[in-house]
């Protein structure tokens, strides 16, 4: 991709993907001459914009096996999560006030749940297994007569594990409970067919699937019908569920991105799988290196590893030719490491020592080879500097040490 700088090598596709140049191309006319408001019913400027938005809605729906009328445009997955959870909780509160989610969810779900707790709802935050997957039995045990909604993400943003949404959905159906799924990291990576998948609400993001930022969508099932209380009031756009003038160029961009994802998913995944295996193979003999999350029930695009006795942020500083992220929270004001890795039962030091590498459509073999080389070098260098590594080499059990916590 000529428009993207090649250094540092981009391996943070989980944070955002580059906008596909083909997506950019179809967006431009809607920023230039075709500027009409899709809600303008009285002239051709509005009609053509509306047609473009509706075409894009079909493209989004098609990727996930939905009806276009089940797609509500939003500003992104965070807004979709807010609308789904608050909208459903508010609408169905007379049926019950208990909600269930998982500790490894994205903050957009967890913080929204916290807000609902402040509003008087009760929320259960379920533990996951060591491999990052939600146990079916744990979910079953958490369901109460007053449970109205379960929210489980499809693909975890930090560790890439794929939850068994079909089984979770079947259980929720049986119990008459709504299921919301945050699929921001799943589109274009996992086959989704809502004709058969029992999901009631699904949050979608554009910019994790090679579309522009600032646009997303919420799938709201029609059969059986799911009702939401609007969170954004105004002109009654999106069948009253989300008011606000639609950004035609953004909708068109997300539509094209999702159309490409549908056409190219198999090829993207095959390529990512080969690169994933190449990276894992290049790092697997590093001593005390651990893959975080289930080894096979995961998207190929995510490789999350902990290099014990090396702190993640210092590793990132060393591998400066790579743009990656870490579960170490040293960059933030708090000293808490990744809550996702902690939820897997990883020790604090392993959580602090993690590196999230996320690859995608334009990652190359040469980039993977460079990554392997620079990670190996820097892990070795930082271990030479690490008192913990020294103690480990001397056979000291670190868990027996009385640390002076600060």
């Amino acid at each position: 991709m000529e428009s993207t700088p090649h250094f540092p090598i981009y391996m943070d596709y989980g944070a955002t993907t580059p906008c596909d140049p083909r997506v950019v191309d179809v967006m431009i006319p809607w920023l230039r001459e075709h500027f009409g408001n899709p809600a303008s019913r009285s002239h051709a400027w509005g009609w053509e914009a509306e047609a473009a938005v509706e075409n894009a809605r079909e493209q989004v729906a098609e990727l996930i096996g939905a009806d276009p009328r089940e797609i509500v445009w939003t500003s992104g997955a965070t807004e979709s999560n807010n609308l789904a959870l608050k909208g459903a909780a508010h609408f169905y509160q007379s049926k019950g006030r208990h909600l269930i989610t998982v500790k490894t969810e994205h903050k957009a779900v967890l913080d929204t749940m916290r807000e609902l707790e402040r509003q008087g709802f009760e929320v259960s935050y379920l533990d996951v297994q060591e491999d990052g997957l939600l146990s079916f039995d744990v979910l079953k045990a958490a369901i109460r007569p007053d449970t109205i909604l379960v929210s489980v993400m499809f693909v975890n943003n930090e560790i890439g594990v794929i939850q068994d949404i079909a089984a979770i959905g079947a259980l929720c159906r049986e119990k008459g409970i709504l299921l919301h799924v945050d699929a921001a990291q799943a589109t274009g990576k996992v086959e989704i067919d809502l004709k058969t998948l029992p999901v009631d609400l699904m949050s979608l993001a554009s910019h994790k699937t090679y579309g522009p930022k600032g646009i997303g969508a919420l799938y709201v099932r029609r059969k059986p019908r799911v009702r939401l209380e609007a969170q954004m009031h105004g002109g009654g756009h999106e069948r009253g569920m989300r008011s606000g003038t639609l950004p035609t160029h953004q909708c068109v961009g997300m539509g094209e991105a999702f159309r490409l994802a549908r056409l190219e998913m198999a090829q993207d995944n095959a390529k990512a799988r080969a690169l994933h295996d190449r990276l894992i193979n290049g790092l697997k003999d590093v001593e005390q290196a651990f893959l975080n999350g289930h080894a096979t029930q995961r998207v190929a695009q995510n490789i999350n590893m902990s290099f014990n006795f090396v702190e993640g942020e210092s590793l990132i500083m060393g591998i400066k030719g790579l743009a990656v992220s870490s579960g170490s929270a040293c960059t933030s004001a708090s000293l808490e490491p990744s809550y996702v890795l902690r939820a897997l039962g990883r020790s604090d030091e392993l959580a602090h020592s993690s590196l999230r590498m996320t690859i995608g459509r334009w990652t190359t073999e040469a980039e993977i080879d460079y990554a392997i080389e620079t990670i190996r070098q820097n892990v070795a260098k930082l271990r030479d500097l690490s008192p913990l590594w020294e103690m480990y080499q001397d056979g000291v059990d670190l868990s027996t040490i009385q640390w002076t916590a600060h």
Binding site: S314, M317, P337, D348, H352, S386, H406
Partner: protein, 128 residues
């Protein structure tokens, strides 16, 4: 977050990395921090028993770039100082020299704690 040039310089070329024999009478060892917090510093000083002057220092640090830089810097600073002079080093001096941002001040505090712990350890060994 961008790092200051001095932090990067110490990170790229850490001074006085390594370990002295803990049991050596002339060595004081300080280990502070906790893996759970993402920082552990081990700082060692080698003291001339006749003069009470620190003649050499070593460190090993598990932590972010600022923690590594803070400990590397203090190993340079303590050399040639008496035990009391070394123990009087303040974290604010370290933070200022390395231009640490507010979220990294704890790294300099840890480095100050490490020197004090090393000095205490040496003094304990020679208390009799």
């Amino acid at each position: 977050m961008a790092y200051s040039e001095k932090v990067v310089e110490h990170y790229e070329n850490p001074r006085n990395v390594g370990s002295f024999d803990k049991g050596d009478e002339s060595v004081g060892t300080g280990m502070v921090g906790a893996p759970a917090c993402g920082d552990v510093m081990k700082l060692q000083i080698k003291v001339n028993p006749a003069t009470g002057v620190i003649e050499d220092a070593r460190f090993k640090t598990y932590g972010c770039g600022s923690a590594i830089a803070s400990s590397s810097l203090v190993t340079e600073w303590v050399k040639g100082k008496t035990l009391d002079e070394a123990a009087a080093l303040k974290n604010s001096q370290i933070a200022e020299e390395l231009a640490l941002p507010p979220v990294k001040i704890h790294c300099s505090i840890l480095a100050e704690d490490a020197i004090k712990a090393a000095v205490d350890d040496y003094k304990k060994k020679h208390a009799h």
